[in-house]
């Protein structure tokens, strides 16, 4: 192989070359397109998950729908949405939000179910009203399970964004297209490394958040 896997000077030249395809801009786009669906997914999943945990008849149909959503290939969903939202970031953000929901709703339900009954009863006995009980007792206990789901959702979202490059909105995924078309390894390697690094950082941030949100778990350990 004559061509080296990585040409370092390419990275230096293209990190911030002022154009719309400089690595820095692609990275920023990538973060936006991966981050928005996860946050939106969490904001939607919490009320829906709480509803499913409370009204049990809702759970089975919701999980059924989410299973189906999760099985849809991302490229196909992007392509179908293309007719509605065109070549914009929204075309990537909407399906990724749905995929996040498919992971997060079951996580919220499992989290609520992980609250031991005696804890709930103690809270009632101590005079907690339903709303305060939810916010101060049940949700904090559910945090580890919900965040475990959030880690899966965030990492998947970050890696799936790059498929969007095929419809012109893929953040770092553009580097894969660029490298393929020019038979040039460097952009592809840079893209893969940055996507994986981004996933690791997101994972770490959530782990740190979990430690901050559940100080009692740390003390016990």
């Amino acid at each position: 192989m004559d061509e080296p896997l990585v040409r370092w000077d390419w990275i230096a030249r293209n990190w911030d070359n002022g154009g719309p395809t400089s690595v820095k801009v692609l990275l920023e786009n990538h973060i936006v397109m991966a981050f928005v669906p996860v946050v939106a997914g969490l904001l939607i999943a919490i009320p829906l998950g709480l509803a499913c945990a409370r009204y049990r008849w809702l759970y089975q149909p919701t999980v059924g729908v989410m299973n189906v959503v999760y099985s849809l290939p991302s490229l196909a969903v992007f392509s179908i949405l293309l007719s509605v939202t065109g070549l914009t970031q929204t075309t990537v953000i909407i399906p990724l939000t749905l995929f996040s929901l498919a992971v997060l709703i079951p996580a919220v339900v499992d989290g609520m179910r992980s609250v031991p009954d005696h804890v709930r009863q103690s809270a009632v006995a101590m005079g907690f009203r339903p709303y305060r009980r939810l916010v101060h007792v049940e949700l904090p206990i559910a945090v580890p399970v919900v965040l475990a789901g959030l880690r899966v959702a965030a990492v998947s979202s970050i890696s799936l964004v790059s498929v969007g490059a095929l419809i012109g909105q893929g953040g770092l995924g553009y580097l894969f297209i660029d490298g393929w078309q020019r038979q040039f390894y460097t952009p592809i390697v840079v893209g893969i490394v940055l996507v994986v690094a981004l996933a690791l950082v997101a994972d770490l941030v959530i782990i740190v958040a979990q430690r901050l949100l559940t100080p009692w778990a740390r003390r016990r350990a």
Binding site: S71, P73, S79, I80, L166, G179, W180
Partner: protein, 220 residues
């Protein structure tokens, strides 16, 4: 709707290289090949690691790597490195992405089996491999099937993306349609892929009903 009529009504997509039945068969062929190889590697490995408890790190690492690695990047890099021409350069990333869901769930299924069950099986005089195949495997079956389902879904989706690096199958409609701005073709192809994914999902639900022991199903 008009696009669907335009796509499915066009004679172009019912004969020759771009015929829908042909593309569907190709998609099934590649997906099945990758899926079968992945299952042949991942199920024995998962059973072994789950039963002996050695090498659990491999399971965790492969699960995380599979989630974080961008499919498109992996496909493009592997095909560029090995070269186009035969089917294998494209199949290798497909297989690599199909292994972790099966491996993780097989491992979890065996590891997560009730320790009392394991002890009882040994107590009845079963040997190591008999314990695994007669006692633990039936109990782990629902999780193994879940892993197989997730893997099959991954393969169908990845085979669609792999059209970009020259693989045939239903993804061709999406990739070629995008390249020529023929959005009816893109839309029609996407609908076919979605239908295929739903069919796979349904197939596994039915399979679950048939092969999982009723006793195991009741416990869950």
């Amino acid at each position: 709707m008009n696009w669907l009529i335009e796509f499915f009504g066009s004679a172009e997509y019912w004969s020759g290289d771009d015929a829908i039945p042909l593309r569907l068969l190709q998609h099934l062929e590649y997906s099945f090949l990758a899926f079968a190889v992945a299952a042949l590697i991942a199920i024995p490995l998962g059973l072994l690691i789950g039963h002996t408890g050695r090498g659990a790190v491999i399971v965790v690492v492969s699960a995380n790597a599979a989630r974080a690695l961008p499919t498109l990047g992996l496909l493009v890099l592997v095909v560029l490195l090995i070269g186009v021409g035969t089917l294998w350069p494209v199949l290798i990333p497909l297989i690599a992405l199909a292994i972790p869901p099966i491996l993780v769930n097989t491992y979890e299924g065996i590891r997560g089996a009730d320790p009392d069950l394991r002890d009882a099986a040994y107590g009845m005089g079963l040997r190591g491999s008999q314990v695994l195949f007669r006692a633990l495997l039936p109990v782990a079956l629902p999780l193994i099937l879940l892993g197989l389902r997730l893997s099959a879904i991954t393969v169908v989706a990845t085979a669609t993306v792999a059209a970009y690096v020259g693989l045939g199958g239903l993804g061709r409609y999406i990739i070629d349609g995008l390249a020529t701005k023929n959005y009816a073709e893109v839309f029609g192809g996407a609908v076919l892929v979605v239908l295929l994914a739903l069919a796979v999902q349904t197939g596994f639900t039915l399979l679950n009903r048939v092969i999982v022991s009723p006793g195991v199903r009741q416990v869950r």
